[in-house]
Symmetry: C2
Subunit: 130 residues, 2 copies
DNA sequence: AACAAAATAGTAATGATTACTAATTTAATC
DNA sequence: GATTAAATTAGTAATCATTACTATTTTGTT
């Protein structure tokens, strides 16, 4: 039950810390494969889930049906470009007041929300003008 | 290219109009199977997508990884109970000002957002107290 | 009724994710 | 450093939601 060290898990964590593109499990797998050519995709999935449960990384849903992962666990929202499918961080404060608004005519207990913004990223918006 | 009538498509639409539980494709399939025992799951998926494209129903993402469908296309938000997995409508106005907030320090173009609230529904919140 | 286009049922394929198992690695003890 | 039990892995098979494919049926028009 105790947690043992594993170089694969370290590599996964280091990979996520070192990039800001919010990769999917498969993207992490491809990346780590270069250092550990025979790492298993299952190992990547298992450790991504484990690290998520430990609160060391976070799993994010951007609406494309594939789970993305973020090494930055500080609370922040994400943006999903519907054209190039990139996932970007947004610099904005939490808008938890929307939880209160949602609670007004609701008899359950609102505990949180899943929020992801969509549109065109800077590059795709620029390309749209040509 | 023209759209022909199909009793299966009508049944799917009628099914969605007649229930408020935001069913998944499989739930719609199970329901319609009672009237049309040999309807195909593929037919359900194809028509759900078609009706969504036509704007007659909407596909909603609640964070459980499975697409849910709603016969009510008026703009409104949803609530997902993390305990019983029910999906409920919320009576609250759109909070489109969060798009403006998100735009402030962002150089792309925010066009919309995916927002779903989570927590305990009325029944599960009550059950929690015992 | 006859015909072409559209839709279907049934099945196979896909893609993301999870489960399983034998072999390897870790960490603690001697 | 060898021993050992628990944890972890690689590799593969299985699962689940969804999409693709194809021969057959249904629809709408002449």
């Amino acid at each position: 039950m105790a947690l043992n060290y594993s170089r694969q898990r370290e590599a996964i964590k280091t990979c996520l810390m070192g990039r800001k593109d919010h990769p999917t499990a498969d993207m992490v797998y491809m990346s780590i494969k270069q250092e550990y050519p025979n790492i298993s995709l299952g190992t990547v999935y298992r450790n991504l889930q484990l690290l998520t449960d430990l609160g060391q990384i976070q799993k994010i849903k951007v609406g494309d049906g594939i789970d993305h992962y973020d090494g930055d666990v500080s609370p922040h929202y994400h943006f999903y470009c519907t054209k190039c499918h990139s996932v970007l961080d947004l610099e904005m404060d939490r808008v938890d007041m929307i939880n209160d608004i949602a609670s007004r005519n609701f008899d359950g207990q609102i505990q949180g929300h899943i929020l992801c913004f969509t549109g065109l990223c800077g590059e795709c918006a620029k390309a749209e003008l040509s």
